[in-house]
């Protein structure tokens, strides 16, 4: 009986102490997406690096993706535990802004490798990428050199794309086509659909099918070949460079207005723009860090295509027209 009591009381004491310690150090809660928090993503390294300098506890909550994050925040409203949201992209920023849930960061970007200067009082970018069609060099000798060529060439390569209703790359392609073809987008899709093997739910399915050899090209990012090159020593993959330019995906973070840790959150955003954080990004998130120059990237990244121009539609336009554009797309694709 004594033994049990001693065990119990020492355990209780330990627990109490740990709670006390926890209570003493502040906790910063960041909502982000799953692949960020996974052990091979940036999460663990970011956590270690930030906690080393902040005397705090960093809690990364992995939600499915950018859309889920924002929706979660909306559903929770001011009751949310989140101090920061990290991982929504520019197709969602208008909505996020409209929700009124974010606070101004009052920071400036000292350096930026983005194609255009960044102007946004609520959100700061941490990485970005370009959508591109990735292919296997051994299978496809001469990829199309423009989006128009891909669309119009009847004998062109077979492609795998994602559904804009359920996936951000899918939406990205929709916006890309819209940017390039404008009013002729519907016809473009009609012609393109003949070469689409399937429209998958998300990026994973499409990429997986591509690696299985189900199609010649898959919609992914210009940085995808870097993964195969660096992590797998596989040089067979490349992205096709389109002359009209590639649509951008810029991922941002924002402070939650109802956060109890505003200063700490701001500290994190500063940290996010610093080299400490940025250098983690390339080989964990496989995107371009927002502030590092190309020369500061790991070996292998120089082999990636550099799209130009970098395309982007105005966020308010996207927010107001998205639903209608998706419906048009549905109409065309359901023929």
């Amino acid at each position: 009986m004594h033994k049990v009591f001693r065990l119990f009381s020492s355990t209780a004491l330990a627990l109490l102490l740990s709670f006390a310690v926890q209570a003493a150090t502040p906790t910063l809660v960041i909502y982000t997406y799953d692949s960020f928090t996974s052990e091979w993503g940036p999460g663990p390294l970011v956590k270690a690096a930030f906690e080393a300098q902040c005397a705090c506890n960093l809690e990364l909550v992995g939600l499915e993706d950018g859309v889920s994050m924002l929706n979660r925040l909306k559903l929770e409203g001011s009751n949310s535990r989140a101090d920061l949201l990290l991982g929504i992209d520019t197709s969602l920023t208008a909505e996020a802004r409209a929700s009124g849930l974010f606070a101004p960061h009052r920071l400036t970007m000292k350096k930026s490798s983005l194609p255009e200067p960044w102007q946004d009082d609520l959100f700061l970018p941490y990485d970005y990428g370009y959508f591109a069609f990735v292919y296997n060099k051994e299978r496809l000798g001469s990829p199309p050199s423009s989006l128009r060529q891909l669309v119009e060439d009847e004998q062109g390569p077979s492609i795998l794309v994602q559904d804009p209703r359920t996936s951000t790359p899918g939406l990205g392609l929709l916006l890309w086509v819209k940017k390039v073809f404008g009013d002729e987008s519907d016809q473009a899709w009609a012609r393109l659909s003949k070469r689409i093997v399937t429209v998958s739910k998300g990026w994973s399915e499409a990429y997986g099918l591509f690696l299985k050899g189900e199609a010649d090209m898959v919609l992914s990012y210009t940085t995808s070949p870097a993964y195969h090159l660096i992590a797998e020593q596989d040089a067979r993959f490349a992205a096709a460079r389109f002359s009209e330019g590639h649509y951008q995906q810029i991922e941002v973070a924002g402070m939650v207005r109802s956060s109890q840790q505003q200063q700490l959150a701001r500290d994190f955003l500063e940290f996010m723009l610093s080299d400490n954080f940025q250098s983690i990004i390339p080989t964990t998130n496989w995107m371009y860090p927002a502030t590092l120059a190309r020369s500061e990237l790991p070996a292998g990244f120089e082999q990636l295509i550099e799209p130009s121009p970098a395309l982007l539609l105005d966020e308010q336009l996207v927010a107001s027209k998205r639903k209608a554009w998706v419906e048009d797309w549905l109409e065309v694709m359901s023929q």
Partner: protein, 524 residues
């Protein structure tokens, strides 16, 4: 009479909990005027042409898939039943438990490995369309249907087989007089279950469907809730889906004949050996190959991958632990809830109130079609003002998974429990054999096997779940399916295939273990 009352109370409690879990979140989602940036959409959208098309396609692909899965399953189950000494029979039946466990995205890869352009039976681009959807659905559901229908042959008394032989019945007459009445009892339930599975099948339809022509109601709900952030619309669509399913359920359950058993004193249910029939052997082999091929391809892919790297990872083992915990806990609740519902349903049918009994079955089954996304989001809305939702992840995930497992429990445990009740209830009453004693001496020994199957199914399902766990941001915990999904999303496809293999092996072990421990040694 007190027996009936306590059953009624237990069943009532279960129903109340079910209703709460399903309806409260939906109500929560409908009542969202306080959400910033939320503009209610036009609720009459459901009359639009788009939704009509979606409805039609959802229904059509589910119907076709169900027929293509269940009708052959009857023949295959029959083949298994008539060949009790077939070598590898046990192994094949274990194999048939696997497709249920595999996360949809992994299964899709498996199907593509076999039937895609680079596969063993290349179908090329015609795979992506209704063909692909049917193939994948049959892969998922035929084995399940076989396992749910097979026990019915055990309910045919040996004397019937003997009489059939003596009276000179041919195979068709044997089917008509002996087998069909036994099968008919479980068939409507199985049809309904498979229909629901196909109706709510998301990743398969979207990825193998080839394009937006293959949009189901689940996709529309997903779209409403996530991209459009229109919870009201999502709820309305979810209710629409629920109503369709209820209609289908009412129709199929009407066809279900509850057993008209002779009240007997003994039960001689020894299996009957019929002469070897080459057609039946062929059927079993074809079914085995059809189900085995995608699984085999997953195995091959996995062995080509970084096996040791994945196994050596501590996160993997943590995930295994979490997966087991969630799976088994959910199963406990599923089986418990199913047990109480079925007990009351059996009492009702014994006293002639078959209509009510059917309604009860229906209630337990139909909850499956309410999308977990809707329930999950609704729970968020209800709970987050009051509690730290992240601390409640496990209870919520376990509860929703228990809900999802309930129809499987009802299908696998139902027929045997009803028969058992019909046979022995009066006897028990005359002996005042109730409660724990009744369970211990009568129900446990006689219902062990279907209980084992029910527990195994519920566990396997919860272990393979991706949809529910993905909704709830878990800071520290991952499950195997979530791990697979994370790996897939991070270019780590070879690792994902290895993890998928591990999930399969784990599920196989747990399935076998549960069937053995609960169900006892298999004798046929």
């Amino acid at each position: 009479m007190s027996g009936l009352n306590s059953r009624a109370i237990a069943a009532g409690l279960v129903l109340a909990v079910l209703a709460l879990i399903v309806l409260a979140p939906m109500a929560g989602l409908l009542n969202l005027s306080g959400i910033p940036g939320y503009e209610p959409g036009d609720l009459r959208f459901w009359q639009s042409a788009y939704i009509r098309r979606v409805l039609f396609f959802s229904f059509w692909q589910a119907l076709l898939s169900t027929l293509c899965s269940v009708l052959p399953a009857i023949l295959v189950a029959r083949a298994f039943a008539l060949l009790p000494d077939f070598p590898l029979r046990g192994l094949l039946l274990r194999l048939f438990a696997l497709p249920l466990v595999v996360p949809a995205v992994v299964a899709v890869m498996g199907v593509v490995s076999v039937y895609g352009s680079g596969g063993w039976i290349p179908l090329g681009r015609s795979l992506y369309g209704l063909n692909g959807i049917l193939l994948a659905h049959v892969f998922f559901n035929l084995p399940l249907a076989v396992r749910l229908l097979l026990p019915q042959w055990q309910t045919i008394p040996q004397h019937h087989w003997q009489l059939g032989e003596q009276l000179g019945m041919n195979a068709w007459q044997r089917w008509r007089f002996l087998e069909w009445p036994a099968v008919r009892e479980a068939l409507p339930g199985v049809l309904l279950l498979v229909f629901m599975l196909c109706l709510t099948s998301f990743a398969v339809v979207l990825t193998l469907g080839g394009g937006p022509k293959s949009t189901t109601l689940e996709v529309a709900i997903y779209q409403s809730l996530r991209f459009d952030f229109d919870p009201a619309q999502a709820v309305v669509l979810a209710l629409l889906q629920l109503s369709i399913c209820t209609l289908v359920a009412i129709l199929t359950l009407k066809l279900q004949r509850l057993p008209e058993v002779e009240i007997t004193l003994t039960s001689d249910l020894k299996p009957v050996t019929i002469r070897q029939n080459s057609l039946n052997i062929m059927l079993i082999l074809v079914a085995g190959v059809f189900v085995g091929m995608p699984l085999l391809s997953m195995l091959i892919d996995a062995f080509a991958g970084p096996l040791w790297q994945v196994i050596g990872n501590t996160t993997l083992w943590q995930s295994i632990g979490n997966t087991l915990f969630i799976g088994l806990s959910a199963a406990v609740f599923s089986v418990g809830a199913g047990w109480f519902l079925l007990q009351y349903s059996a009492s009702l049918s014994l006293t002639g109130k078959t209509g009510k009994a059917r309604l009860l079955d229906l209630a337990g089954s139909i909850v499956y079609v309410v999308p977990p996304l809707v329930i999950g989001s609704g729970m968020f809305v209800l709970l987050s003002p009051h509690v730290d939702v992240f601390a409640w992840v496990y209870p919520i995930v376990i509860t929703i998974n228990a809900l999802m497992g309930l129809p499987f429990v009802i299908r696998s445990l139902g027929p045997a429990l009803r028969q058992n009740h019909a046979r022995y209830h009066y006897l028990c009453q005359s002996l005042s054999l109730q409660g724990w004693n009744r369970f211990r001496y009568l129900e446990w020994p006689l219902l062990r096997r279907p209980l084992g199957l029910a527990a195994a199914l519920a566990t396997a399902l919860a272990m393979g779940d991706l949809g529910v766990i993905a909704l709830f941001g878990t800071p520290h915990t991952a499950t195997l399916p979530l791990l697979i999904y994370q790996q897939l999303g991070a270019y780590m496809i070879p690792q994902a295939t290895v993890t998928a293999l591990l999930l399969l092996l784990l599920s196989l072990t747990v399935f076998w273990g549960l069937e053995r421990v609960i169900g006892g040694k298999a004798d046929a």
